[in-house]
Every structure is written in C-alpha cells, then in structure tokens.
C-alpha cells in the first residue's frame, strides 16, 4: 500500500496541471497585489464555478468511450495495478483540473462588466473541448476559445494587453515557471518557435522602419505576450502532436500575429491568430501523425493491462492549458 501511495503521490507531482494551477494562481495573486488590476473577485468566482460545472456536466454527458472500456476493465479487476484503477475511477475529478486551468486563464486575461459574459466565456470555453473534436482530440485552446467567444458575442468583454507592463522580473518569472511546466509537458519547441519567429519578424520590421532597439525591446518585453507564449500556445491537448507540425503551426501563429498587430492594429492579435489557426492543427495531425496517435485508439490486440495503462496515461495528459 505504501508503495502505491508513494507512486500515486509521485504521479500527482508528475501531473503538470498541478504546476499550471499553482503558477496561474500565483500570477493572479501577483496581478491583483502588485499590478493593481481592477479585478473583481465576484467575476473570478463566477468564471470558476461556470468552468467547473460545465466540465462536470459535459464529462457526464459525453462520457468518453475510452472510459467505458476502462470501467469495464477495472470492474473485472484483471490487473492488480491499483494505482491506475484508482486514478481511472475519478476521471471526472481529474478533468476538473483542466477546467480550473481554463478558469484561471480566463480570470487572468479576460475582463468583462457582467456575470453573463463571464459565464458565456467559461461555458463555451469548456464546451469547445467537447464540441470541436477530431479523433477525440479538441483543437481549440479552451481559454482562447472562451475569450474570442466573449469578444464576438458580447459587447462588454475586453482584454488588456498592457496589464503586465514590461518589467524584466515578470519576464523572468514567466520564463522560469513556464519553463518548469514545459519541461514536464515537452512542448518547449512550440514556445521557442513562436517567440523566435515573432522576435525575428519584429526585428526585421524594426530595422526596416529604423526604430531604435529599445522600441523593439519594449514590444517584446510585454508580459502578456510572454504569458501567452509560455502558457497558452503550449497546451499539449489541443496543439499538433508531431514536432514538425508544432514548429510549422507556432511559426504560422507568429506570422499571423505580426500581421494583425502591425497591419490591422489589432491589440488582441495573438488571441485571434491562435483562434484562426487552431483548426490547422487537425490538418497537421493528419499529415504528420501516425505514431502520435497510438494512445488515442488503442490497437485491438493489446492485453488489458496495457490498455488500462494507456488509458491512465491518456487521462493524465488531459491537462489543458490556459
């Protein structure tokens, strides 16, 4: 039993979602404490409750066929790996972590006047995971979907890109905490490509326009941009599976962001770029996919224990970022 408990603890620590929740909460507290955001606690509460409830209900309705397999297997108790069956017995609870991350992300980024807007953003964010799926993989980043939905469908939502300012220590904090999560998730390539491509484009523009480099530096030091690059576009659940796809995908987002920001003067360019290119990940997964998809549809002749293990893996990868 002790070994199992230790294993379970180790596995919980392995779950990058815990770190995500911890860091995002920290940013929220920092934002309220040091950046004097006029955040309303009631709206944060509303969005959290909405996200958690929607997740709970949606998981109940769209009960995952894989989980059914899993349930039937665990009932038979053919495998003695108590750890997995334990984890698998509470998939709903585990999936609430993802919902919590989405809620924290929305609280950090989205501003609104009314409860209804936050409720709409929260519920659509979570529902997007269930509604927009290809091969049982959702392709919209939930928080990003919620933000765009609120911007389109309501008149009172906005995003404050300047809210973090450009202090260096925020950049370090984001980079440090983001790095920790990315290390576990293994998606640093996405962040690096996005930031690299965007920085390169801005550098070219800066040289062409003849601005001094402090202008460039100021444009890149935006806390909001870093937060986006480190915590939003790296969501392993919705971004392409193969590295090559991710590189292409992140590069395209950087290009679209650059164009929207500099040509169309859209202050929320990054969110629109991510939203517009999210469906591209389906195509990219289709082109460069085969090995990555193995856990999505377990091969028929595998023994039950390995199926169960895979299912548990699947669940533990249900983390969904900002």
């Amino acid at each position: 039993m002790k070994v199992i408990r230790a294993l379970r603890w180790a596995m919980l620590r392995q779950d990058p979602r815990n770190y995500q929740i911890l860091f995002l909460s920290l940013f929220l507290l920092l934002g309220i404490g040091t950046r004097d955001w006029t955040l309303r606690p009631d709206l944060i509460l509303v969005v959290m409750v909405t996200c958690l409830l929607t997740q709970w209900v949606a998981v109940s309705i769209w009960s995952n066929p894989k989980e059914k397999i899993l349930d039937s297997l665990t009932k038979k108790q053919t495998c003695n790996t108590e750890l997995e069956s334990n984890l698998a017995s509470s998939p709903k609870l585990l999936s609430l972590k993802s919902a919590m991350i989405t809620a924290l992300g929305l609280s950090l980024l989205l501003r609104a006047d009314h409860y209804t807007t936050m409720m709409l953003a929260g519920s659509l964010a979570i529902l997007s995971k269930f509604l927009f799926q290809v091969e049982r993989k959702h392709f919209f980043n939930p928080a990003n979907f919620g933000i765009i939905a609120a911007l389109i469908f309501t008149g009172d939502a906005w995003v404050s890109p300047g809210q973090w300012g450009d202090d260096g220590w925020y950049a370090l904090l984001f980079a440090g905490t983001g790095g920790l999560v990315l290390k576990r998730v293994g998606r640093w390539d996405t962040t690096a490509t996005f930031l690299g491509a965007y920085a390169l484009l801005e550098a070219i523009r800066n040289i062409w326009l003849g601005w001094t480099w402090d202008v460039y530096c100021h444009r890149l030091m935006s806390g909001s941009l870093l937060l986006f690059a480190l915590f939003m576009i790296t969501d392993p659940r919705s971004i392409p599976n193969a590295r090559i796809s991710r590189l292409l995908w992140a590069g395209s987002i950087a290009v679209v962001t650059f164009i929207l920001r500099n040509q169309f003067f859209v202050s929320t360019a990054v969110f629109w770029a991510l939203f517009a290119l999210s469906p591209l990940s389906v195509l990219l997964d289709y082109i460069w996919s085969a090995p990555r998809f193995s856990w999505l549809s377990p091969p028929p002749n595998v023994d039950r224990c390995s199926v169960e293990n895979k299912a548990a893996d699947t669940e533990s990868e249900q983390y969904s970022k900002v």
């Binding site: 004097d36 006029t38 009172d156 906005w158 300047g162 300012g165 980079a175 402090d214 935006s222």
Partner: protein, 437 residues
C-alpha cells in the same frame, strides 16, 4: 530543454543590453523654431473622440514663444483635406480639464454630543496645461516630398506632406525655413516607412492679428483610420526633461486604456490633513511625482473615468451636447441621451522609459473612477458629553493617521506635516465665539 534555455538566456540578454538607451526627449510633434528662441513643450493636452475607426483629434497649445516662430509637425495616418481640419475652442479643453481634474472633497464632523447630519462640499481642480506645435512650405519633388494638400484654417496655414525618405523631408523642411531639431531625421523615417503623412502647421500672422487672439487656439483634425495612437516619439526630440501629456479619450463605449504600457489608477480616496486645502496643487504635484516614481516612471495614470452625463462630486458641470460636439464628439443624436464616456489619462514620459508611441484601445469597461482626496474637518464647537471627550481623544489618532497617509503619498517630511496639522487643529475657534451671535 537546452535550446529553450539558450533562447530564454538570449532573449534576456538582448533585452538587458538594448534597454539602456541614450537620453533624448514631448508630444505628438516637435516644435520647430525659425529663430533661436528657447522653446519647450512641457505639457500637452489632447482630446481624442473616437467611435469605431473614426477619430477627431484635438491638440491644445501651451506654446509660450513668439507666435511667428511657431511651427508644428505631426505624423498623421491619412492625407487630410481642408474640411477635415478645424480650429477648436480653447475653453472646451479648459472645461474638460476642470470636469475631470482630481478633486478635494471636504466633510465636516458632526457634533459628537448631538449626532445627526453632515454636509459635503466639493472640488479643487488639478493643474494641467495645454501643449502645442507647427511647420511651413513649398514643394520640390526631387526630394521625394509631395505636398498632398495645402490650406488655411483660422489663423493656421497647413500643409499635408508625404515623403519617400527622411533626408528628403528634412532637407525640404529646412529649405522652407523650418529649423529641424538635431536627430529628427532618424525619427522621421519610421513614420515615412509606415506610410504616414505629416501635418505641418504654422501661424498666419495677418489672420492671427486680425482675429485679435491672445493665444493659439487648439487644432482639430477628423480622420478615419484603424490606428488608435499618439505619436509621442517625435516630440521627444527637443524636450529636455519629463513631459506631461493629458489625454482625454471620449468614447461611446467605456474606458480607454493604453495597450503597450500599463495604465494605473492614481492613488485616490485618501483622507489627508485639512491644511492641504490651501496647497492642493502642491499636494497633487508631489503625490503624482511619488506615484510616478514608485511605478518606475513607465506607466500611464488614469485620473478620471466617468460617464459624461454626471459627476459626484462635480468639480465642474458636465459638458452639454453643444460643448461635447465642440470637443469632437460626433456621434450624438438629438433624440437619444448622450452616450459619452471620458477617460483622462496622465502620461509623464521621458525618452528612456517610453520608447514607443502610445497605442490605445477602447474597452467596454464602464467602471467609474476619480482621483479624489478627502478632508475631514473636526467638530470645532464645545463638547461637554462623554462622547465628546472620546471624540477628542480619537481625533489625535486620526490626525496622526492622516499625516502618515499624506507623508506616504507625497513623501513630504512627517515632522513638517505634523507641525502644520497641529497649527490647523489648534486654530479651532475658541469656545466663547459660539456664545454670542
């Protein structure tokens, strides 16, 4: 992980190296003197009325030199024609200023022995001044400079120039008698490359004298562009120190904020000693400077955000429809109630902390905010009851608290504040004054 680490390290290094830029230093444009008059534009006021992509920009002048030397060059997003430029009413900007200025509120403690009622009185305006600008002209196409339009509005002669390259524009301006500040050349280029035009204004002396004006009146321009920005960079060429810019954004939706710098509320709702009533402008200046320094000198301050239909307390009456129209508000219809939300932003900027032009966005945030400072006058009549004695004891604590708040807000010396507080509190009227009418 390695490449990630390398990338981050590289980014941080670039940022660290690049961020320490040399100093140079104003506002939308730069003053261009034709003589060696010492010019400086320390404070500017701009009103931006914006709905969708439509904008009416009003620039107020605090130009203090000789009118004949006045010239203004401002990058504008589109070519402007004569009917897009107007000369505004300086009183409107004064009214906007007074309406949105940080304010003092005073309350009078009730007689603790006789509980009821309090009354409040309002308002002391902050201090702001207008900013100004200007230019001149003939065209030579070999310099790559095109005069897109040329017209006169009121006392101003206006040219809209487009240029292919900054050297040509600089040469053109110089040949036409404009003294370009050193270093302006490099700053003109980014605007030329972004396909922006140059609004060049100078004063037509005959019309100015014929009009009998005392000061230069504000210039207004109407245009349609997705760019919601104020070019402050060019104005930093000939300014030597920190410059103040007050931006009044009028929007039908809600608050405006700056997207590429932080927008922070000024400290507000603080109870401060009553002696501040006589030195409110000193107080506000010191408080603003303290807040500005505390925020690292790189944020924009929100001093006021309110629906233009009301105020509480009012430091001036809200602008009526006619005045709003003069301030550039173009979306009002007689049949509907006025939907105008004002945001007053106070930006104190220097070249090193504000490298980039200000970019704005309107939001639907209708939360109201005002810079408001509270004076509470102690009850000065005679108090014989137990509650009165307790009240008097509590006063000392309150005065100390107020003194400390003031010291924290302004960084004035606490000893000086205590001295002044004691003087004020001992000035309460002697008891016999209230006996005979």
């Amino acid at each position: 992980m390695k490449p990630f680490h390398i990338l981050i390290t590289l980014l941080i290094t670039i940022v660290a190296v690049v961020c320490f830029a040399q100093k140079a230093w104003a506002f939308c444009g730069f003053y261009v003197a034709k003589a060696d008059t010492k010019l400086y534009n320390q404070a500017s006021q701009v009103v931006i009325a914006r709905n969708g992509d439509r904008t009416i920009l009003t620039m107020a002048n605090d130009y203090q030199g000789d009118v004949k030397d006045f010239a203004l060059v401002v990058p504008v997003p589109v070519v402007l024609q004569q009917d897009q430029v107007n000369v505004g009413d300086p009183q409107i900007i004064e009214h906007l200023d007074a309406f949105s200025a940080p304010r003092l509120v005073e309350y009078f403690d009730p007689d603790p022995c006789n509980r009821p009622m309090y009354r409040s009185s309002a308002a002391a305006p902050g201090n702001t001044r207008g900013g100004g600008t200007r230019g001149g002209a003939e065209d030579e196409s070999d310099l790559g400079v095109t005069v897109e339009s040329r017209f006169s509005v009121g006392e101003y002669d206006i040219l809209i120039l487009s240029a292919r390259e900054s050297n040509g524009l600089e040469t053109w301006l110089k040949r036409n008698g404009y003294r370009i500040p050193k270093g302006a050349n490099q700053l003109l280029r980014p605007y030329i490359r972004q396909n922006m035009k140059f609004f060049v204004a100078k004063v037509n002396l005959e019309k100015f004298e014929a009009g009998g004006y005392q000061f230069l009146r504000p210039l207004q321009m109407a245009y349609e562009s997705p760019r919601f920005m104020l070019p402050i960079r060019l104005g930093m060429v000939n300014a030597t120190s920190e410059q103040d810019l007050i931006v009044y954004v009028l929007s039908p939706k809600g608050q405006a904020e700056i997207t590429n710098y932080r927008t922070v509320n000024v400290p507000t709702d603080s109870e401060i000693p009553v002696f501040v009533k006589n030195e409110f402008s000193d107080f506000y200046k010191a408080m603003f400077q303290t807040a500005y320094t505390r925020e690292g000198k790189k944020v924009a301050f929100r001093e006021y955000a309110w629906d233009m239909g009301s105020c509480d307390p009012c430091s001036a009456e809200p602008l009526n429809s006619e005045e709003l129209k003069k301030a550039g508000v173009f979306w009002l219809t007689p049949s509907e109630p006025n939907n105008v939300f004002i945001t007053r932003l106070h930006v104190r900027y220097t070249r090193d902390k504000f490298p980039e032009d200000l970019m704005f966005q309107e939001t639907s945030n209708t939360q109201q905010f005002q810079g408001r400072y509270i004076l509470r006058h102690p009850f000065s009549g005679e108090m014989k009851c137990q509650a009165g004695r307790e009240y008097q004891r509590s006063l000392m604590q309150r005065f100390e608290q107020e003194a400390q708040t003031l010291a924290k807000l302004t960084e004035w010396k606490i000893q000086d504040i205590r001295k002044k507080t004691n003087v004020t509190s001992s000035q309460t009227a002697p008891w016999w004054r209230t006996i005979w009418p």
